[in-house]
Amino acid sequence: MDRAVFIIFIILIAIPAISPLGLPISISSNTVEVYRQIEDLKSGDIAMWITDFSVGTWGQVGPAEVAVYRHLFDLIRRKGIKVIIVTTYSVDGSLNAERILREYVDTKGLKYGEDYVNLGWIPGYETTLMGIAKDFQSIVKTDAYGTPIDKLPMLRNVRSISDIALIGFSTSTSPDPYPRQLGGYGKPLIINTLIATVPWTLPYYEKRLITGYIGAESDAAGYEKLTGMPGEGLRTLDAQTLSHIYGVGLIIIGNIWYFTRRRGGGKG
């Protein structure tokens, strides 16, 4: 019984991977909101992105993260913003960040240290977040490659959260520490997370401690459409559609199965 369920599922998601179906999609309002906030950055603004999701959740958080990175790096070229990348939760996050920088983002022609900087993993999680908000220079000593930060021109004037124009973070665990430490400063605070974590962030979102959220591939695909840079998100959406309808079907089939078995005198 379960095997059949699994096999049909594998076939369903394999079809779009072999040849895309091109089913229509829509862009959610929260994705547009996040896009606007990032797009509204002005020349010279510093955006900080905290990549904290674990390697195992790449499938869900990764596509949107790639889309946002691409957008940020595009803005460096178009508007001359500056980008700080950092990890606070576990070493996984910095591995993800390096992977995106290496494989997905076009950094050609950009100056490391002036246009963008990767600080790597600064252990400490919530303590680090608090340090970033209050005393940036004392918590950050070197970047990911061991260069002291006074050698990185763009970080020289970053003292606290007031010198940063926008903060975003991605997490696959609890979103609580981020609004706790970084919220309430009147800066945009954007979260990219698992879809299951989105309801958790909604109370913060209502209070505007978090100003925008994106989660999972549908938002990633919408984001890719907005930035005009197609990627993993759009590709997976067909598979999403098929598997959701399959889920609805299974609930119905499961119930029919259950009731016929019960009528037939089987155990409930």
């Binding site: 095997r3 499938g59 869900q60 990764g62 919530e126 879809i195 299951a196 997976t236 999403q240 889920g247």
Partner: protein, 218 residues
């Protein structure tokens, strides 16, 4: 080429568990446990190196409070002694206490006070008011469901019942949202096994499953 093949074989080894518990899955399981443990030990050694060895030995800060942490850490190993095992409880008690303290820190403000805040019930836009009312009712009833020392009868019975219904809406929503996040992994892995060279590995896997089925029938 080799890399992609290795990746797809590894994926198929793990997914073979969907068919049944088998030797390939077992190998994958053992590898994963071994590798993950090695990674955590390496990360742990790095932490000890950065936080203890460098400040104390390299920078010569002999009187750093970190030494107390080291002492507490070493106390954990009294676990292996027959007469002093009880000392190992101390560091664990301190550690659990700190964890509970951290959890409590978030509990009161974020989980209680902030959640009490609610919008106006009568607004110009009538729907917002109604929505706020529904919000209030669902919140109160689901909280009332968790009253332990009052029996669910009399006036409380319908309230608790309504509480269950509102919680079911909450859980249904979560369950519905769940699928999207959960199938993501499988979807992101599937290209590895349906495109060459992974495709060849999948064909081998399918043949193995068919053979296994035939053997079992005989």
């Amino acid at each position: 080429m080799i890399d992609a093949l290795v990746t797809s074989i590894v994926i198929l080894m793990a997914w073979s568990f969907l068919y049944r518990e088998n030797i390939f899955y077992r190998i994958g399981e053992a590898l994963l446990v071994g590798l993950a443990l090695a990674i955590s030990v390496k990360v742990g050694l790095d932490v000890l190196f950065n936080r203890i060895y460098i400040p104390i030995v390299v920078k010569q800060q002999w009187l750093s409070p970190t030494l107390i942490a080291v002492a507490l850490g070493l106390m954990m190993y009294t676990r292996f002694s027959k007469s002093l095992w009880w000392v190992s409880r101390w560091p664990i008690a301190l550690l659990s206490g700190a964890g509970l303290g951290v959890a409590m820190k978030g509990a009161v403000m974020a989980q209680i006070v902030r959640q009490l805040d609610i919008g106006s019930l009568f607004t110009k836009d009538i729907f917002t008011g109604i929505n706020n009312l529904i919000l209030l009712v669902t919140a109160i009833t689901s909280l009332a469901y968790f009253l332990y020392t009052f029996e669910h009868k009399g006036a409380l019975a319908p309230v608790a019942k309504l509480g269950i219904y509102s919680m079911m809406i909450c859980f249904g929503t979560t369950l519905g949202l769940f699928l999207m996040s959960n199938i993501g992994f499988a979807i992101s892995l599937i290209p590895n096994v349906v495109r060459p060279p992974g495709l060849y590995a999948s064909i081998v896997a399918i043949i193995l499953i068919i053979v296994d089925n035939l053997i079992k029938k005989e």
